[in-house]
């Protein structure tokens, strides 16, 4: 026992060093897993407070740019309205509206049995809700994961795994939330792929490779598909993002001979260097969709 204590005292520094390194690596490993919750992240109250104070100062310098981008977005949305193509974010469902029966004699049958009476009517409701948020911290220089901190949290209705879009493109997915702040894993992160399509509906996956915050790669495009530089790429509704949101434009076309596909290098329409405000998208039917799809997986097993 005495020898053990002596040994510990002799190698105390080395032991402490190893302990601290192990703790660090556990934290790193927690961060790399997709479901894992970071223990230290910038959605906590102290860090969020500092970022918000800093942003309050810097905010005024960016007002001019912000005005311009908001104006552009307004124009785009007005054009969309004019084309009356807002159907995408709406969803029709067929319901029967019950006719209230005003009988003086109370029926013994319960009201639920009468639900099917009445004419069929299409009720239209929006399946997405957009929550505006300000970017208070943004990183683009990391090689594996880039995070964005927002000034909205659970109090504003934000929860994990919601999609985040900017005025002119896609941004990422909410990773951690606290009461007043949220961190977002941006599209500029390895190991995350999102479904996207060309304007004629040919689907592929967008992934990011380290190096540039301006480009992503659209993979799994069939070889016979005709693509030109400058073609637009949009999101599909299959991953977390709403349909028909601009991803970017094709900048380079690589043909992969081994599996007969094309890889397209896409220049993002979102400017991650100057991200100022974003929208967090709540998909009201997302939970239902996820539950149904997970049931499929269970059946397969």
């Amino acid at each position: 026992m005495r020898k053990l204590i002596q040994l510990i005292r002799r190698f105390w520094n080395l032991i402490l060093f190893i302990i601290l390194e192990v703790v660090s690596f556990v934290l790193i490993a927690k961060r790399q897993s997709i479901q894992g919750v970071d223990i230290v992240n910038s959605s906590n109250a102290i860090v969020g407070f500092f970022y918000r104070k800093q942003n309050d100062v810097v905010y005024y310098f960016q007002l001019k740019q912000m005005n311009d981008s908001l104006l552009n977005e307004n124009t785009r949305l007005r054009n969309l309205l004019a084309q009356n193509s807002n159907v995408d974010t709406f969803r029709d469902s067929i319901v029967r509206i019950a006719i209230p029966l005003r009988d003086s004699v109370k029926s013994a049958v319960s009201d639920t049995s009468r639900k099917g009476i009445g004419p069929i009517k299409a009720v239209r409701y929006a399946s997405y809700r957009y929550i505006p948020a300000r970017v208070i911290n943004n990183s683009i220089a990391n090689d594996r994961m880039n995070y964005i901190t927002l000034n909205r949290g659970t109090d504003d209705g934000i929860s994990k795994n919601m999609a985040v879009v900017a005025g002119n493109g896609i941004v990422g997915r909410v990773a951690n939330v606290s009461a007043h702040y949220a961190t977002v894993v941006s599209v500029l992160s390895e190991g995350r792929s999102y479904s996207a399509c060309l304007s004629d509906g040919t689907e592929g996956f967008i992934t990011w490779e380290k190096g540039s915050p301006d480009y992503v790669t659209l993979t799994k495009i069939p070889l016979q598909q005709k693509v030109k530089r400058g073609d637009s790429v949009f999101t599909t509704g299959y991953s977390i993002f709403p349909e028909n949101i601009m991803v970017g434009n094709v900048a380079r076309i690589d043909t992969i001979k081994t599996n007969n596909t094309k890889n397209l290098r896409v220049r993002l329409s979102t400017n991650f260097r100057k991200l100022q405000y974003v929208y967090v998208v709540e998909n009201k039917l997302g939970e239902e969709k996820r539950k149904l799809e997970s049931r499929n997986i269970q059946i397969k097993e």
Binding site: F25, D38, V40, A141, D143
Partner: protein, 182 residues
């Protein structure tokens, strides 16, 4: 100003500079080759560990390194990468110092490594060696892919040179005030 207070203030100042200024400017060289050259951030916060007194015990260095790393990790959402790199750097500081300094470490009492006490060339060598350790550890853990070794080296080199510029700037800015206090 006592040595504790000075180091605590330096800690806060360096975190503030790193987080509120340097993290916001993602640098890249040769903007025309933006496709090939990655953006990067210079790191100045390891300077806190470099400037602790020479006789600081190793266990305190490790604890200070871990605290600093975790603080930066929380701000930058990097999990524990900065903490791991900082702890490694803190552990190896005594080895670097014994290799660089002419006398034994225990003979320098109450001396902090600085431009004034060491001179420009030894101090910059010391800083460059330590920062190289830190950056190498950081980017190896961050990238964790040895296929793109050129990319790794490019990123380490670019960050190291830029960090050194900021270290020199810091030394120039704060050396006079340190001289007055001593």
């Amino acid at each position: 100003m006592s040595i504790y207070l000075r180091n605590i203030l330096r800690y806060l100042l360096l975190v503030a500079i790193q987080v509120l200024l340097l993290n916001k400017i993602s640098l890249r060289w040769w903007a025309s080759f933006s496709d090939s050259f990655p953006p990067f951030i210079p790191f100045i916060y390891p300077l806190f560990l470099l400037l602790l007194p020479l006789t600081t015990p190793v266990w305190f260095m490790l604890a200070a390194g871990f605290t600093m790393g975790i603080t930066i990790d929380a701000f930058m959402d990097t999990g524990g990468i900065h903490a791991a790199a900082c702890v490694l750097m803190a552990y190896l500081r005594t080895n670097v110092l014994t290799a660089l300094l002419p006398k034994r470490l225990s003979e320098y009492t109450n001396l902090t490594p600085s431009v004034k006490s060491m001179g420009w060339t030894p101090f910059l060598t010391y800083a460059a060696a330590m920062l190289l350790l830190h950056h190498t550890a950081y980017f190896i853990i961050e990238i964790w892919n040895f296929q793109s070794i050129g990319y790794l080296l490019l990123k380490i080199l670019a960050t190291l040179i830029t960090s050194m510029i900021f270290v020199v700037l810091y030394a120039l800015l704060f050396s006079s005030s340190i001289a007055k206090n001593e």
